[in-house]
Symmetry: D3
Subunit: 239 residues, 6 copies
Amino acid sequence: MIGPSGFAVKSVTRADAASVAELAKHGVATIHEAMGRVGLLDTYMRPIYPGAKACGTAVTILAHPGDNWMLHVAAEMLERGDVAVLGTSSNNTDGMFGELLATSFRARGALGLVTDAGCRDVAELRDMGFPVWSKAIHAKGTVKATIGSVNTPIMCAGALVHPGDVVVADDDGVVIVPKLQAARVAAAAAARDAKEAGTRKRLAAGELGLDVYGMRDSLAKAGLKYFEDEAALLRERSK
Amino acid sequence: MIGPSGFAVKSVTRADAASVAELAKHGVATIHEAMGRVGLLDTYMRPIYPGAKACGTAVTILAHPGDNWMLHVAAEMLERGDVAVLGTSSNNTDGMFGELLATSFRARGALGLVTDAGCRDVAELRDMGFPVWSKAIHAKGTVKATIGSVNTPIMCAGALVHPGDVVVADDDGVVIVPKLQAARVAAAAAARDAKEAGTRKRLAAGELGLDVYGMRDSLAKAGLKYFEDEAALLRERSK
Amino acid sequence: MIGPSGFAVKSVTRADAASVAELAKHGVATIHEAMGRVGLLDTYMRPIYPGAKACGTAVTILAHPGDNWMLHVAAEMLERGDVAVLGTSSNNTDGMFGELLATSFRARGALGLVTDAGCRDVAELRDMGFPVWSKAIHAKGTVKATIGSVNTPIMCAGALVHPGDVVVADDDGVVIVPKLQAARVAAAAAARDAKEAGTRKRLAAGELGLDVYGMRDSLAKAGLKYFEDEAALLRERSK
Amino acid sequence: MIGPSGFAVKSVTRADAASVAELAKHGVATIHEAMGRVGLLDTYMRPIYPGAKACGTAVTILAHPGDNWMLHVAAEMLERGDVAVLGTSSNNTDGMFGELLATSFRARGALGLVTDAGCRDVAELRDMGFPVWSKAIHAKGTVKATIGSVNTPIMCAGALVHPGDVVVADDDGVVIVPKLQAARVAAAAAARDAKEAGTRKRLAAGELGLDVYGMRDSLAKAGLKYFEDEAALLRERSK
Amino acid sequence: MIGPSGFAVKSVTRADAASVAELAKHGVATIHEAMGRVGLLDTYMRPIYPGAKACGTAVTILAHPGDNWMLHVAAEMLERGDVAVLGTSSNNTDGMFGELLATSFRARGALGLVTDAGCRDVAELRDMGFPVWSKAIHAKGTVKATIGSVNTPIMCAGALVHPGDVVVADDDGVVIVPKLQAARVAAAAAARDAKEAGTRKRLAAGELGLDVYGMRDSLAKAGLKYFEDEAALLRERSK
Amino acid sequence: MIGPSGFAVKSVTRADAASVAELAKHGVATIHEAMGRVGLLDTYMRPIYPGAKACGTAVTILAHPGDNWMLHVAAEMLERGDVAVLGTSSNNTDGMFGELLATSFRARGALGLVTDAGCRDVAELRDMGFPVWSKAIHAKGTVKATIGSVNTPIMCAGALVHPGDVVVADDDGVVIVPKLQAARVAAAAAARDAKEAGTRKRLAAGELGLDVYGMRDSLAKAGLKYFEDEAALLRERSK
C-alpha cells in the first residue's frame, strides 16, 4: 500500500503511550538489538547536532524532490508526542525543513523530525533544541507544487514506516519499532539494559569478554590459533 | 573567462560595504531565497566547526590538486573584510590550508576561507575562531609546484564566483551574491526576514501554515483528498 | 604477510616509549609532514567527537563484515598505552564497537580505537572520553560467527599497519608511524614544530609567506604574471 | 513482518502467470509509470551487462554481509519463471553470487537475480546470458556462517519485496509489482504503451510535445515568458 | 546572469559552423588540452552506451528536481546541429529524458543530450543511436509542475554553459568550448593532433617519452635518483 | 618502506614465468579464493571496457595528484609481460593515462595498466585492445611537475603492491599475488578450478548445493526452520 500521492489521513492509531515511555529510556542500539537486529534507517541518516534525542509516534509524510508542501499538510495531523518522518519519491537533499516549520511543529506538540532529504536553519534549530535527523544540511529552498501524502506507509532511508510506529532517534541513528511490537520490544530493551549493567561492572573490573561471554571454546572450534609472538607465527607460516 | 592558470590580479572591485554589512545580518538560507533560489555551493561544502559564520568579499584562487602555492600568492591580495574562495582544477581533498596560513590570512584582515579541497589543523582553527568551509578534513600535505591564478573567475563547488562578489557562509552552507546584485539582495533579505518575524509569531501560537499561507484551496485543486482514518483510506482504495 | 584469518599473536614488539611520548606532543599533520608526506589513513576516517586525540602503539585486528568477534580476542592482548586498529576483509559500516567494549578496552589500558567500520554508543563514548575514529556511526549490531586475526599486519583505510606501530590520531585524521621509524619521525616532528613557531610569529605580524618562504622568484620562473586590476588582465587576454 | 533471520518458507503464492507474461512485454519505465510512479529500486542497482532483461516472480532472500549461505537454501525454493531477489542486513558489496550458483539457479528454472550486494564471474554470466542486477561487481569471496531467511518480506535497494511479487528488470533498473496489483498494472502498462505509439508518430513527424500534450496554456499560467533573443532578455532583466 | 526560472529565449547566437565542424574531428581530451586544460564537466557525467559521440551547439535548459517540463519547451528551440544541455537547480537523478523526447529532439535536428540528471529507456536510445551523457540511469518518472528556463546560462556538472557554446562529448566525458573561443580552440586542437601523430610513431617504434619529450634533465633537477636494483635502494635508505 | 618520493629502481625480481603462465589461465575470483580470500583491490577499480583481461608482473608507480610524470619514467622499466600499477599520494581521478602512453607501454612489452586514478582516450584504448583498470574515466589533463617513485612498494586501491608481484585483472576486478606465493597460489587455483568442474556438472543437472556441499545439517544446527507456506510461518510467529 506504499504508494501514489494524494492522500492525507487525519487520524491514525498510535503505539501505546506506556511502551513509548519505556522505549524513551533506551538507546537506538539497544532497541535495535532487542528487536532482533532490524528496524534501522541507513547510516547516512544523522542528527543535525550532537546529543539530539527523540522518541515518539510517527506521522509519515511522502514528499517529492524539491517540494516541501506536504510538511504543511502534516503539521495539522501532528499531536503531542509525535515525531514527523519524511520519505521522498526520489533522492533529494534540498533544505525542505527549517526554523519556521519547526516553530509550527513544536507548537503542535511534535518532538522532532526524521527526513530523507535536507534540513536548513540548523543553527536556529540547535538553539531551539528541536532535533532533526536528515540526509544532508543544505540551504536550498523548495517549491510547493506537487502533492504527496500524509499518514500512509512510506520508505525512509531504506526502512518501511507506518503511521503510528515508534521512532527512536539519537546520536547512533534512527530505529523504527512497529506499533504492534512496541510493548514486546520495550520489555526486551529493558531486560537487555538490565543485563548489560552487570556485564559492564565485570568488564570495568578488568575481566575479559572472552570469559564473561564464555567464548574461548567456540573460538578454538572455529580454528583460532594462538602464538606467543610474531616469531612463532612466522615459523608456523613458513612450514 | 574562467580559465588558464598564471594570472594574479592585485586590485579588484569589491561589493559595496553597506550591502555587505546588511547581508551579514541574514542567514545563508534567507539570502539564497532572496536571490530567487540560486547562488548556493553544493551540499558537500561544510563548516569545519559548528557555529562558524562569515560574510565578506571574495578573493578568488584557482589551485591545482595537491598544490597550495597560490594560497600564499592570494595572501598578498587580501584586504580587511575579505573571504578567500578556492576552486581546484580537478577534484582534490588534500589539506591545502592550516593554522599557519590562517595566521597569515587573519593578519591581512581576512574573515575566513571557502575551499573546494581539504583543510587541516582544525582543532587549532577552532581555537583561533578562524572559520573555514571545506570539502573534507584531511592532514594530507601539499607541494608548491604548479601555478594557478588569483582574482580571476573560478568554479567552486558547482558555483561561479567572481572576485569581489559577496560570500556568505554559515552552518547551512555557502551562498555567493554577485557584487552587482548585492544591494538588491540585501534589501530583499531584510524584507524577507521582517516578514518572517510575523509569520513566526502566528505559527508559534499554533496557527497552521495551511491557514497562514492560505494553501487549502490550492491543495484541493491539486487533488489532495482527506480521510478521517486509515480504514476510510482502505475503503477508498479497494473500490 | 597480510592475510588469511585464524591467527592471534599474544606478544608483539612495540615502538619505544620515549618516541611515543614525543610523538604525542605533535599533531597528525605535523607528523605526516615529518615522515615525508606518507602514512595517513583515508579522509573518510573521522573522530566520533570533536577534540578527540590519541597516541599509542597498535594492536591490530582483522575482522569480517558484520562480525565483531575478534575485538573480544584483541582485548586480551591490549596493554597500557595501546590503540586498537581494526581492518575489515571487505567494506562494512556496522556498529562493531560500543560502550561495553570501550569499558573493557579502557580497563585493559587502551587509549582509543581506529576502526575501518562503524561505531555506536557515541553519546556514551563521548561522555567516557574514549576516543574512536571510524568510517561511520551506525547502531547496526553484529554477530560473532567468523574468526579473523589479531596482531598480524592489516590494511586499514588504505594504510598498512603492523602491530606495535605508532598510531597518532586527532581532529585531522590518523597517521601510522612504523615502529622502526618512530625515533627519527619524533625528532623530525619536534624540529618542524620548533621551526614553525618562528614562522608563525612573522606571519602573525603581517609578513607574507611569499617573503618568509622566498617564493617570489620561483613564481616568476613558473610564469605567474601580475596585473594591477581586472581591466589590465582583460587587455592582456584580448591581445 | 520484515525481520529476524532463521525462516525458510518452501511454498509461496506467486503472481498469476498471465499478468507476468503481459508485464514481460513492457519496460521498467512504462511499468513504473503505470503503477503511479512507485516501486523502483534505487539508481545504484544496475545490470552487469547491457541488454539484460528479466521478468518473473520473486523468491526473496535475506542475507548477512559477507555471507552467501542463504543463496543455496533459496535454490531449493526456485521454480520455473522465478527471479531471485536478495536483500542484506547491512551494506555489503561482496561477490556473493557467481557462475556456479547461476548454473544451479538456471537448472532450477530461475530467470535471473537482483542482489543488493556484489556479483562476480561477470564474464561467465554474460556468456551464459544469465542476467544479474547488482550493487557492485567484485571478486570478493564470502563465508557460510550465519543464517538469514528465504521467502519472507525483505528490503532491497530501498524497496519492499514480498515473495511472489513480480520483478521486472532491464537496462533502466528494477521495478517490483506487488502480486495483488499485477493484473491491474499489466493492463495499465499495455494501455500506456499503446497510447505512446500514437504520440511517437506525431513527435517523429516533427510535432512538438508542447502541442501534442497541450502544454502552452499551463506554461503561460505558470509564468513562463518568451523572449525573441538574448538582447531582449537582457533588456527585460535590466529594467 | 545565471538565475531565476521563467525565461525562454527563442533565438541565440551559435558558434560558427566551420569551427564546430573542425572540433567534431577531435576528441574531448584533445580539445580540453587545446583550451588550456579547462572546460570539462565532472567525471560523473558518462555516456549511456560505449562509443557515443556528439559535437554541436548548446541549447541550455534549467530544470527542477523531478520535473522535465522544460525539456518540452526546449524542443521548440532546437535546430539542426544542436546538443541540448540540462542543468538542475538541485541534485537529482530522476529519468527526465527517454525515447519519446529523443524522437522529438531528433525530429528537430538535435544530435544528443547532456543532462545533469537521470536518463531512461537506454536500450531504446542505444538502438536509435541517440547519444546521451547523464549523471545516472534510472526509470524514475517526473512531473511537469514547475517552470525553469531555456537558453539562459546554466551550471551543468560543475561547468558554466552559455547557449550557443560548442558541446563536444565522447567516451572520455564532455567539454564545453565557449562560442567566442571556438575558432581558436579548433585550430589548436588540429595542431595538437597533427603533432601527436609524429610522437605516436616514435613511441610505437619503442622510443621512450623521456627522450621524445626531453625529460631526463628536469627529472634529475627535481631530484629523482635511479638505483640499479632493490638491494641498492635498501643500501641507500639504511644509510 | 612505502614511502617518500624520488626513487626509481631499474631492475626488480619478478615472479617466475611458469607461475604467471598458470595464473593467467584462471579468473580473479578463483585466484582470490585460492589465496585465502585476500589480495583484492577495492570494488571501484573497474576495467574501461568489458572483457578486458591481463596477467603479468607488476612495475609499480607512485604518482601525485594531477601529475603523470612518473608514467614516463616507468616506461623505461617495463619489460615484456609486465603490468604497470599506479598508486597516488592522495585521491585523484585525472586522466593520467591515454593512447600515447599506451602506445609506448605496448612497444615496451607491457600488457596493461592498473591505475588508482583516471584514464582517458578509452575509445582508442578499446580499439587497440590495451586493457586498463581505473578508478574513473575522465579527459582531465595532467602536469609533469612533481616526482614520485618507480618500483618501490605502493598502495593501490587499498592493496599493498610490491614490484614483481603478479597482477591478475579481469571483469571481476584486480588481485595481487605476492611473488613469493605465486607458485603456491597458481597450484591452488588450478586445483580449485578442477574441483569446480565436477561441481558445475552436478549443479547443471539440477542437484542442489545443499546436497553437493552437504549443508543441511549445519543449517539445522544454526537454527534454520523450514515452513511449508506463509500461513505456517504466520502461525509460528504469532505464538
